[in-house]
């Protein structure tokens, strides 16, 4: 019996303290684990599934990550025939992810498919493979900026062009005035979203090859981590909204606590919330449900007693 055959096929043996799988790369060796070729049809499947499921499983803690996972599923099944590796890939794409559906989702899902493909092929061939954290950091670095582009173009512009074109019909009482904007917007975004997915796939392949050739993976992972953390800082500042309504009247002089806090350090409360959660995860591992329940209870209590 060779050493590879002695490896455990049970995912329990590869779990870390966060409950995440870190499978032994040797599990991917062998003819049985050879990844299938990714076809144009697969790319269409990924795009369609992501498009269809886009905001269905929306939550506060993962945002629309499950939709991306749902989109990638057919490809992941073709690439990772080994169930431990498939489980690892599913887990990877259930982590927090949020972007705009067409510009962000199209490009990022295309790139992700190509990176996963390179990773699976290299693992199967027993060569040094793209690190899983690199795939994660690529997604995290791209999701914010592309969402910015997509929201302003699709929701802000394309949608209103479609509506304006047919509003006259609507005012005359013609139902086409309501149906046509919907049909036009849905068709247009579906088509260019698909093209973005294709484009992301081609770009990702080229980038992945470039990276592997250069052998500078470690520094690129770090650079992507820098970009990812930088974007998280931007998102924390824009999306976390916490302030205190505490006010008092100090012998005729109004005292507004939030103004005092802003005078000391603007944006203090949201930062405390993010950092407290971050250190909770660093200390206790990724106990997401526990953190969410606890945090929600704290917020409700503080809101009810009037501190927030």
């Amino acid at each position: 019996m060779s050493e590879v055959e002695k490896l455990s096929q049970d995912y329990h043996d590869y779990l870390d303290e966060d409950g995440m799988i870190h499978a032994d790369p040797r599990l991917m060796l062998g003819e049985a684990n050879k990844p299938d070729e990714i076809t144009k049809g697969d790319i269409m499947k990924v795009w369609f599934r992501w498009w269809w499921c886009n905001e269905v499983p929306h939550t506060f803690d993962r945002m629309i990550a499950p939709s991306l996972c749902f989109g990638l599923m057919p490809v992941l099944k073709k690439l990772y025939k080994n169930p431990v590796f498939l489980g690892e890939a599913y887990q990877r794409h259930l982590q927090f992810f949020n972007t705009q559906a067409v510009w962000g989702g199209g490009i990022i899902s295309g790139i992700t498919v190509s990176l996963e493909e390179e990773r699976a092929k290299a693992l199967n061939a027993g060569e040094p493979a793209l690190d899983a954290s690199m795939i994660q950091n690529t997604k995290i670095g791209l999701m914010g900026p592309l969402a910015g582009v997509g929201d302003s173009i699709d929701s802000g512009t394309v949608q209103y062009i479609c509506i304006s074109l047919f509003l006259g019909l609507c005012q005359e009482g013609n139902p086409l005035g309501a149906v046509m904007p919907f049909v036009c917007f849905a068709t247009a975004t579906f088509i260019y979203g698909y093209l973005f997915t294709r484009m992301g796939y081609t770009m990702g392949r080229r980038a992945a090859l470039e990276v592997m050739k250069g052998g500078r993976i470690k520094s690129i992972i770090d650079a992507l981590g820098v970009l990812g953390l930088f974007m998280m800082g931007c998102m924390a500042a824009s999306y976390v909204k916490l302030s205190t309504p505490i006010e008092a009247d100090l012998s005729g002089r109004p005292f507004v606590l939030q103004e005092t806090l802003d005078g000391i350090l603007p944006g203090l409360l949201p930062l405390i919330a993010v950092m407290a959660l971050f250190f909770f995860f660093q200390k206790k591992g990724m106990k997401v449900t526990q953190a969410m329940l606890g945090f929600t209870v704290i917020l409700i209590v503080l809101a009810v007693v009037g501190i927030l």
Binding site: P66, C170, P175, G177, A178, F185, G225, V226
Partner: protein, 253 residues
């Protein structure tokens, strides 16, 4: 309006709010057009429905200023407003005003959906680790849709059948208490959770300074009244990541 008509309209609104019709629901949710079309179809007065819907669309586009609060969740609000306008022969502005509390309720139901989906996320994690693809499909696509229908179908049916004022009374009763305030605080704060998780996943405490850099840059520029887009920040992010890469690789060599 018959109970069947109310139910049919509610089912359509629930389908939009569950987002189970894909990204196509974007125009359906944020514009009153398709909800108005559906109401016209169900109530059998397409002409009137379209005329009213067009006016509501103009209100939403800011062309016609209604002078009051804009109802959130346009699809929910316009399903009510168009029905009320057709059946009660009201002018569209008055109908929209009636729909405000129902729209507000719709936006809270939409957030409630996020909490219910968390139950599904737990199940997804359990399926993912076992590489159980069937289970994953069920918990990602099927259950959240069912949750959304369970939230929206009864409430919208009641609002349509018993009349929007019923919802208005309920919302007034709640909004004087702490419930809605607590909901606002929770939804404003919970965004921190996903961000903290991502930071933990990236996992490098050494690089945390870049988080602080971006955080305070954005807070300060926002307070200074500058509107700098995410794309601009991303360009800075890329430049900084590039510099970091350049300096660190040089040091190693």
């Amino acid at each position: 309006m018959t109970i069947v008509q109310a139910l049919l309209i509610a089912l359509f609104v629930a389908a939009i709010e569950s987002r189970a019709l894909g990204y196509a629901t974007l125009t359906m949710r944020f514009s009153p057009l398709m909800a108005g079309f559906w109401v016209g179809l169900i109530l059998g007065d397409m002409h009137q429905a379209m005329v009213v819907t067009a006016t509501i669309q103009l209100i939403y586009m800011g062309v016609v200023a209604p002078g009051g609060a804009m109802p959130s969740e346009p699809a929910v609000a316009s399903a009510i407003a168009v029905s009320v306008a057709i059946l009660g022969d009201l002018d569209p502005e008055a109908a929209v005003a009636i729909a405000v509390p129902v729209g507000l309720m719709g936006s809270y139901l939409y957030q409630l959906r996020f909490f219910l989906n968390t139950i599904a996320v737990n199940k997804m994690d359990q399926c993912a680790v076992k590489a159980d693809s069937r289970g994953l499909v069920f918990w990602i696509a099927v259950m959240p849709t069912i949750f959304a229908f369970a939230l929206f179908v009864p409430t919208i049916t009641i609002a349509l059948y018993l009349g929007a004022p019923v919802i208005s009374d309920v919302m007034n009763a709640i909004s004087n208490g702490p419930v809605l305030h607590a909901l606002d605080v929770v939804s404003g704060g919970l965004a921190a959770l996903g961000i903290a998780i991502t930071m933990h996943v990236i996992g490098s405490r050494k690089l945390l300074v870049f988080f602080f850099l971006a955080y305070f840059l954005v807070v300060l520029t926002t307070r200074a009244g500058l509107s700098i887009t995410m794309i601009t920040w991303a360009i800075f992010g890329v430049i900084i990541a590039f510099c970091y890469n350049m300096f660190t690789t040089k040091a190693e060599a």
